[in-house]
Amino acid sequence: MFKILDTYELGPRMHYVLMDAPLIARKAQAGQFVIVRVSEKGERIPLTIADYDRAQGTVTLVFQEAGKTTCALGAMKKGDSLHDLLGPQGNPTETEKFGHAVVIGGGIGVAPVYPLARALKEKGNKVTSIIGYRSKEHIFWEDKMRAVSDQLIIATNDGSYGRKGFVTDMLKGLMDSNEKVDIVFAIGPAVMMKAVCDMTKPAGIKTIVSLNSLMVCGMGMCGACRVSVGEKTKFTCMDGPDFDGHQVDFALLMKRLETYKSEECSCQGGVHGGR
C-alpha cells in the first residue's frame, strides 16, 4: 500500500496529493509518470509526476477529476493509501542547454511543466513560462513557477487574472516580439498542444509535447497507448510520453481519447482511463 502523506484542493475539482514513495522518488525525473490504481477493483491510470523529493522519498501528483479513478482519488484523505502505485514510467524529458526555452502549461498541465522548467533552468537555459488557466480560481503554483522562470506569463481564458486569452495568444505575442525562441515544450490538453504545434511548425521552432493517451499496462506490453508520430505507430509508455509535436497525429490522439466515452461513469462528465 502507498500512503498519502498530504492532500488538498488546488482549485475546483483539482487536487494535490503527496505520496510516500521512496523507490519512485529515488529515480523520478521530469517528464515521467506513474500508474495509479486506487482500489482492488480499480483501473490503472497514468498520472504525470508533478514533483519529487528524493531526500523525503515523496512524489507529488496533481490532477483534475475527469473520471472514476481521479474522482475517487480526489475524495481520498491524508493517511489513506492507494492500492497500487507503479513508477517512474516513461522516458524522462531530454533537457540540455538550448538557449531560450519556452515552456507552456495548460490547466492541470502546469503541474508537470514545473519540474521541467526547473530542470531547464538548472541546465542554464533562459526559461519563459506561459501558463494558462480557465479563470482565476483555477490558478495554482504561480509562485513555484515564478521561482524557476526568467519570465512568467499567466493567462486566463476569461481575463480574471493575468492576461486575457489562451496560451497560444501569449505564445504568438512572444513570437511576434522577435524574441528568439530555441525550443518549446507544451503540456496540457491535446487540443492545446495541437494549437501550439500549429503555431510553431511554420516558424520552424522545435516543439516537444507530452502525450496523454489512454493506457492500461504503462510498461510496454498492451499497446493501448499507441499514437501515430511521423506516420509511424509509437507507444506512449515506451517511446514517449514526449514526442516531436510537429510529427504527432493529434486528430487520431483526440479520437482515441474518446474510446470509452459511452462507458460513462458515475462521475459527472467523466471518461475512463484519462490522465
Binding site: 523507490l23 529515480k27 477493483k41 517512474p88 510498461m219 510496454g220 498492451c222 505507430t233 487520431l252
Partner: protein, 466 residues
C-alpha cells in the same frame, strides 16, 4: 485383456452454457475416470513420451503410481520436473508433445497424459490447501539472495526451484498482480485464476518473497539489484509490445491488440464492468486476426462478452494454424466463424473514429517459407469487406523491451531477445534469463523448463563462487 482404443473423454461444460460464462470449460477427471484412462497405458519400455515432454517428466512412472492409487508418489514424480503441474496439465499442447509420440497412437487414441497430470495435480493442490499434503522437507537456508524479474511461468518456476535449494528469493513483478501471462493473458475459462493464486500463495509459504508494482529497469536496474546484495538475477520478463500488420486503420477506435483486449478482460476483469472499473468494448461483430492460441483465446473471449458473430481471420489454412488442435476445436464448436486463407488489407472507420469494416483479400498457399509452412500469397482482385464493430489483432509480440533497454552490457539479439545459452547464462556474469524474453513467444512449459534450468545453473554458479 484388450486395451481400450478410445481415451476416456473428459466432461466439459456444454457449448450453449459455456459461451455465456467465463468458467473453465473442461471439468477434469473423477478418480474412476482417471484410473480407467491410466489403465490404458502400456508402460512400454521405449517411453517416447518422456522425450516428447519439454521438461522430461517420467510419464510412465507417474501413470503407474496413479494406477496403483499411490497418488502422492505420482505427484512427487510430476514435481520432480514440473513445479506447476496444475497449470501445465491445462495449458500444455500435449498433442504436439508427449501425446504426439505415444505408442498407443498406432492403435487408437494416445494416453490422455495432460488430463492425468491435471487429475493428480488438482488433487494435490486441494490437499495442500487443506494442509493434508506432506510438508516439503526443510532445507538448510543458504545465506544468499537471488532476484527474479517477472512472476510469469519462467520466473515462478525459477523462484520455486531456488527456494527449494535454500536460497532467499525475491520475485519482482511490474503489474499489481502476480502470475504474468497466466493472469493477464490466458483466460479464466482455460486457466482459473484461483489456481494461479494458490500456487503463488504456496510459494510464499515456501519462503519466496513477492514484490508487486516493481518494474525492474525503471524503479531499479539489474545493476542496482546486484549492488543491493543479490548474488544472481534471473530475468523472465516475458512478452512486450504487440505486433501490428502496419495496414491503414489499425489505430481506429475498437481495434485492439490481443494483449490489450485480454489484459483488460483477464487482469483488469473488464467482463465484470462496471463492478470493476476497467471497461472493454463489447463488439457485436468482431474480427480476430491470427491463428495461434492467443487468437483463439481472444475470439472465445469476445464471444463470451456477448458478440453475435466472431470472425477468425487467418492468412493460411487450418493445417498451418499454430493454435492447439483442442483450442481450434473448441472455438469451432462455440461457433467462431473461421475465415481461412484470408488476410486483412485495411480497416475502414466511420466519422466517429470507430472501426466499421475490415477489408480482406483471399490468399492462396505458395512455396514453403523459412519456417517450412507454405507462404500465403494474395489472390488479385479477391478483395471483400466484412462489417465489424471491433477487431482484435493477435499476430504476436516482441520481447519486453525494458530490461534490454536499461541493462548496459547485456547482449541482445536482433529482434530484441536477450542472448542466453541453454542454461540461461547471459553476457553478464550472475545474470540469467529464460522464457519468452529469450526465445520469443513460446509456450508456458518451455518457459517453465527454462526457469528450472536457470535455477540449476544459478545454484552451480553460486556454489562455485564460495
Amino acid at each position: 485383456m484388450a486395451v481400450d482404443k478410445k481415451a476416456v473423454p473428459m466432461r466439459e461444460q456444454p457449448v450453449h452454457e459455456r459461451i455465456r460464462n467465463f468458467n473453465e470449460v473442461p471439468l477434469g477427471y473423477s478418480e474412476e475416470e482417471a484410473l480407467r484412462e491410466a489403465s490404458r497405458c502400456m508402460q512400454c519400455s521405449k517411453k517416447p513420451c518422456v522425450d516428447g515432454c519439454p521438461v522430461h517428466i517420467d510419464i510412465p512412472a507417474f501413470i503407474k503410481a496413479l494406477r496403483e492409487k499411490d497418488f502422492q508418489k505420482g505427484i512427487d514424480i510430476l514435481h520432480a520436473n514440473d513445479s506447476l503441474p496444475c497449470i501445465t496439465g491445462r495449458v500444455c499442447p500435449q498433442e504436439e508433445q508427449c501425446q504426439a509420440v505415444c505408442v498407443m497412437k498406432k492403435m487408437g487414441d494416445p494416453i490422455s497424459i495432460g488430463r492425468l497430470e491435471r487429475f493428480l495435480a488438482d488433487r494435490d493442490m486441494q490437499n495442500r490447501v487443506q494442509g493434508k499434503a506432506p510438508r516439503p522437507p526443510a532445507v538448510a537456508k543458504k545465506n544468499k539472495k537471488v532476484a527474479v524479474v517477472g512472476s510469469g511461468p519462467a520466473g515462478v518456476t525459477c523462484a520455486a526451484e531456488l527456494a527449494k535449494k535454500g536460497y532467499a528469493v525475491t520475485v519482482f513483478e511490474g503489474y499489481h498482480k502476480l502470475g504474468g501471462v497466466l493472469v493477464y493473458g490466458i483466460p479464466e475459462f482455460r486457466l482459473p485464476k484461483a489456481i494461479v493464486e494458490t500456487e503463488i500463495r504456496l510459494l510464499e509459504e515456501l519462503g519466496v518473497t513477492f514484490v508487486t508494482n516493481a518494474l525492474i529497469g525503471r524503479a531499479m536496474t539489474i545493476e542496482e539489484l546486484m549492488k543491493d546484495g543479490y548474488a544472481a538475477v534471473f530475468v523472465g520478463a516475458g512478452a512486450g509490445l504487440p505486433n501490428f500488420m502496419g495496414i491503414p486503420g489499425e489505430n481506429l477506435n475498437g481495434v485492439y491488440s490481443a494483449n490489450e483486449f485480454l489484459t483488460r478482460v483477464n487482469l483488469m476483469k473488464a467482463y465484470l464492468f462496471p463492478d470493476y472499473d476497467t471497461p472493454v468494448k463489447r463488439g457485436k461483430n468482431v474480427a480476430v486476426v491470427g491463428g495461434g492460441n492467443v487468437a483463439m483465446d481472444s475470439a472465445r473471449t469476445a464471444l463470451r462478452l456477448g458478440a453475435d458473430r466472431v470472425f477468425l481471420i487467418y492468412r493460411r489454412s487450418e493445417k498451418e494454424m499454430p493454435a492447439r488442435a483442442e483450442e481450434i476445436e473448441r472455438a469451432r464448436e462455440e461457433g467462431i466463424d473461421f475465415r481461412l486463407l484470408t488476410n486483412p488489407v485495411r480497416y475502414i472507420g466511420g466519422s466517429d473514429g470507430f472501426v466499421k469494416q475490415v477489408e480482406c483479400v483471399k490468399m492462396e498457399l505458395g512455396a514453403p517459407d523459412a519456417s517450412g509452412r507454405r507462404s500465403p500469397v494474395p489472390v488479385p482482385g479477391s478483395e471483400f469487406t466484412i462489417d465489424i464493430d471491433e477487431a482484435i489483432v493477435a499476430i504476436g509480440n516482441t520481447p519486453n523491451p525494458i530490461i534490454p533497454r536499461t541493462t548496459p552490457g547485456l547482449k541482445i539479439k536482433k529482434r530484441g531477445e536477450i542472448e542466453a545459452d541453454d542454461d540461461g547464462r547471459t553476457s553478464i556474469p550472475g545474470v540469467f534469463a529464460g522464457g519468452d524474453i529469450v526465445t520469443g513467444a513460446a509456450t508456458v512449459i518451455t518457459a517453465m523448463g527454462a526457469g528450472r534450468k536457470s535455477a540449476q545453473a544459478i545454484d552451480n554458479y553460486l556454489t562455485a563462487q564460495k
